[in-house]
Symmetry: C2
Subunit: 411 residues, 2 copies
């Protein structure tokens, strides 16, 4: 992990996340890449746990992603093994062999099938996974099951992250108290669909696999698929949601079951919390940017415009420089390829209307917006004036520190 101090946008502290019934965590230091820190996480899950996953759309997906995509179709999981420091990506047949070996190792210890062991890896691409190191610490990892905290788990999966990321919410399904708790990592190579971003969310709710899959996809779409740090899509992006069923709530029948309303909201809050923490740890980030797009022809078009703004290096550097260069926002809207009529386009920053229906508003004074830009939370609102489509997208600014981190990451 490069020697970088904590992001100025980091939350003040890691939340006090309660346990999730049925989930037992363990961490270990295998020395895969990093020295003197935990880099392995194992989560054991009880029988009957349902699981859903969303993975990178990269054409060069990592071996663990290929493994998980194949195995999560069962909708079941008994364990989750995660390592940091090595992505096991672009490692050919050996990479697939190493995943199978790891899953089998966990399966034996937990008396389940290898297919029930989900695996995720994050770190350098193209280097073989040093499985012998994992092998050495494996007995200890198994022996420690149940002893690790969420904080330790969140730390073990980090790479260039400057702080561990966790979130939780309590909610109800019917009259049953439910806990939703999650951890995530990610700070660079962050873009939707998805990012070098791993997110693992655990709930004790009882949710059938098909329902869990729908809820998870819809939630990821409004959280991790609405963030970008640098527009680069990783080989390893993984979001996994597991439900242990230990809360014994009445089983919902579909995603539209009214009993799920409170749960879906809690889940979305956990995902948005984790996703925005990833952005707040965006490599070199000094400002957190929320972009609201309204008046698009559809929600999809709105997100397209939002992401075009969020991914523009020129918008992001202007904000880093606290420069109210709103012309670059117009440029980014233009390049989005979404339907746009510049005569109807309005742009605001920090709640101040700068341009309305195709031109700068009369009497616009930059000083108020400049004031807003000196803060660390920046708001951009774009109204396309075409329809009812809307989306909210989050990103961070592009600073010298991003360059420093990424020009020095591997060496």
């Amino acid at each position: 992990m490069p020697d970088v101090s904590k992001s100025p946008l980091a939350p003040r502290r890691f939340p006090r996340i309660p346990g999730v019934a049925g989930v037992r965590l363990a961490v270990a230091a295998a020395g895969i890449k990093y020295k003197r820190r935990n880099d392995l996480l194992l989560a054991a899950l009880p029988q009957g746990t349902t699981a859903a996953g969303v993975f990178t759309r990269s054409g060069t997906a990592s071996a663990p992603v290929i493994w998980c995509r194949d195995n999560i179709t069962s909708g079941r999981a008994r364990a989750l093994l995660v390592n940091s420091g090595n992505a096991n990506a672009f490692t050919g047949d050996r990479g697939m062999h190493d995943v199978r070996w790891s899953a089998t190792r966990v399966a034996k210890a937990l008396a389940c099938r290898p297919a029930g062991v989900l695996v995720a890896s994050t770190g350098v691409i193209g280097e073989p996974l040093p499985v012998h190191r994992i092998d050495t610490v494996f007995p200890r990892l198994i022996g420690e099951l149940g002893n690790a905290s969420w904080y330790q788990a969140a730390r073990a999966i980090t790479t260039t992250d400057t702080f561990p990321k966790g979130a939780y919410r309590r909610c109800q399904i019917g009259n049953t108290e439910i806990t939703v708790a999650g951890i995530a990592k990610g700070s660079g190579m962050i873009a939707p669909n998805m990012a070098t971003m791993l997110a693992f969310v655990f709930t004790d709710a009882r949710i059938p696999a098909a329902v869990l899959r729908s809820v998870h996809s819809a939630t990821v779409d409004r959280s991790f698929n609405c963030i970008t740090v640098d527009s680069d899509t990783s080989t390893s992006d993984t979001s996994i949601l597991v439900a242990t069923g230990q809360a014994r709530n009445a089983e919902p029948e579909s995603i539209s079951d009214r009993a799920l309303k409170n749960f879906k909201q809690a889940l979305l809050e956990v995902y948005v919390d984790l996703a925005t923490q990833v952005v707040k740890d965006g490599e070199g980030a000094s400002k957190f940017i929320t972009i609201d797009v309204e008046g698009a022809t559809s929600n999809t078009a709105a997100r397209k415009v939002g992401l075009a703004i969020a991914e523009s290096p020129l918008v992001k550097t202007a904000i880093a420089g606290e420069d109210a260069n709103w012309g670059r926002i117009v440029m980014a809207v233009g390049k989005s390829q979404a339907q746009v009529d510049q005569q109807l386009l309005s742009v605001s920053m920090g709640g101040v209307l700068i341009a309305h229906r195709g031109q700068r508003v009369a009497g616009y004074t930059e000083s108020i917006v400049d004031q807003h830009l000196t803060g660390s939370e920046i708001e951009i609102t774009v109204n396309l004036g075409l329809g009812a489509g809307r989306a909210r997208v989050w990103t961070c600014d592009l600073t010298h520190e991003y360059i420093r981190i990424n020009a020095e990451y591997r060496t």
Copy 2:
């Protein structure tokens, strides 16, 4: 123009470009934004000049782009007026009015129709064009026609450029000697389709408008549409090719006329020369990167992969840091959304095969590639192993200087 020293990748000197029969140039300092430098260029063209243009695909195209797109359909031009410092983009009705006013002013002086006057503007977006300043220097501009050099013309159209860009070639159509000469500007907001990039190329050849249009599009596709600096698409990108016909060669009938072979090659050389100069002046560039993609299912797919690599901030920062982080190249290939089979993928840098058919080659030693990366001209070759499609794409690295320039551009 921010106080930045000349790009380390700049050519040693501006070429000694000969005159093009029929083209008369003038420059003037209107003080649109910059002080004490020329910011207006006028090129007068003789009757019978044919013209072709390619413009930004931005949904928020500038007023001059809208004007040119409408008027170039005639295939004729009598003048070209260019200003730097203000893009006249997102300026509403007033912007269109200002273009019409400028064109009419030139048309009166040259006794032609306003529709024959092509206009281009580059600079800040969203601020009204200060036409009164142009008005003041206008008589002088007309009076100076024929007195400006290519060097002066190339300098007058620059914004954040650290050096003026020009190129020329001589060739033959039949037995007639032909000159092709061009100037360009651009250094940021550079991406294909196109970039804040203006290119104006002039030839004395006699080419019917329809043929000129085809030749121009094909040439832009293999030059300006194969470069990227920061993936941002400008509101103002313009490439215009004019042919004065003064060389009186036999008129070619189609783009496939054999007499054009030599001319097409010369034209492509001029465009690639200008396009790569734009990349070499990429904001903050310290390394010039040539990416060859082979084995794609089509040339279009190859270009898509090449641009995904060229636009990846993680690839560009790694190269800035002289780090042979080829895993990021694999990541970028994966995110391109072109057809990819990672089992067939090979990656080389500086001619050294690093990964072959889906994994790192046995015995690969990074030190040779590291050596290559210390140079200023970097070569990346990717073979997808799928077909005969190929493309060459150019970009530059992403450095601290990019951030510095763009966080401070406007203020």
